[in-house]
Symmetry: C2
Subunit: 209 residues, 2 copies
């Protein structure tokens, strides 16, 4: 069973405030040209995507420098939909399951606000203490159904810096995380293969066997 | 073991003659903006990508209308690197293995010519007779390490029309197919999730267990 954890790319999707507007416009059609084709204009950090260390930290790895097994492995989704922030205490209670996986994903419910102004409301982000504690595990990435591992207003991006410095990747703007609550599954988040990618769109999915 | 079967997207990649030039340019950098970001400008049929029926045939399915299991399954690579075309006779000798898989991929050696003018030399394409015979199987897609399932000069695109009418997808411009010769493996070709996608770039990979 395969579950798509990706938002659809199309005109009008939610973007990080101030980013250039993406477009997905048909430039060829069958009646005029004999074939249909869409021109994709977007940035590496739009839609469901992964942040590489090189997104924020100079002289660190881009996505294309990681082996593909960095992007596949066991995953869990934690329900943070009733919280205003994700505390160390909450995570410690989940230590046993975190120990068994490569990917920890956080379901806040923001996925349901995608493509609406409410997506920019304050979401339950990790405290720095909680983020630091997650570095004790041998995780491959953290994933969220919202914009950022840091608060929306953050300029210093402390959580980004903490995790990316350890080559722990960040998956942002995920979808359908509620469908994977309470399940043991394999996550696959192999991103678009772009040279020197500071980040890249990804078609991420969960797989149960 | 995971094997990447995808070409890297970057400035200067090989494109179908006459297509608009794609670009992958850094528009934000860490020293100026505090973060790095690349603007992706490309079309749905560039790089390693999948053709949907709607690429050529009016009122047929786009990629986003297929369930994800359309894009995963057992695969084989056939070696056509010594041929000028792929005949029915050649395929019939492989009937037993074709019967066992969802994906038949063709290694011509053109992958080594990617990003050089030689990529536009005549490649070993399927005869219409061979293409028609492949429709007898319950395949999900055919894949090639070159531009097209039709001859480069073809205007009528008969092979495209034959397979897409049966919702047999086409994966073009694959890479590393030689690494999978003689292997039984699982192919994964879940494409970018673009609304109404007549085609889409894909990070395709092979997996052995």
């Amino acid at each position: 069973m395969i579950t798509d954890l990706t938002h659809t790319l199309k005109n009008g999707i939610t973007i990080w405030p101030g980013s250039p507007t993406p477009s997905f416009n048909q430039i060829n059609n069958i009646s005029k040209d004999g074939f249909a084709q869409i021109a994709i204009n977007m940035c590496t950090h739009m839609g469901t995507h992964i942040d590489a260390p090189a997104h924020i930290l100079a002289n660190t790895k881009t996505l294309d420098q990681f082996p593909l097994n960095k992007f596949i492995g066991p995953a869990i989704v934690l329900d943070v939909s009733k919280m205003t922030s994700i505390s160390l205490e909450f995570l410690k209670a989940k230590e046993q399951v975190i120990n068994k996986v490569d990917f920890v994903l956080f379901y806040s419910g923001w996925q349901h606000k995608w493509n609406s102004p409410a997506y920019s409301e304050a979401f339950p982000s990790l405290t720095q203490e909680a983020t630091t504690w997650l570095l004790n595990f041998n995780l491959k990435a953290l994933g969220f159904d919202y914009f950022s591992i840091d608060d929306l207003e953050s300029k210093e991006l402390p959580n980004h810096r903490l995790v990316l410095a350890k080559e722990l990747l960040i998956i942002e703007n995920m979808n359908n995380l509620d469908k994977m609550l309470g399940k043991e599954f394999e996550l696959n988040c192999i991103p678009m293969k772009i040279k020197d990618a500071d980040g890249a769109p990804v078609r991420v999915f969960g797989r149960t066997y």
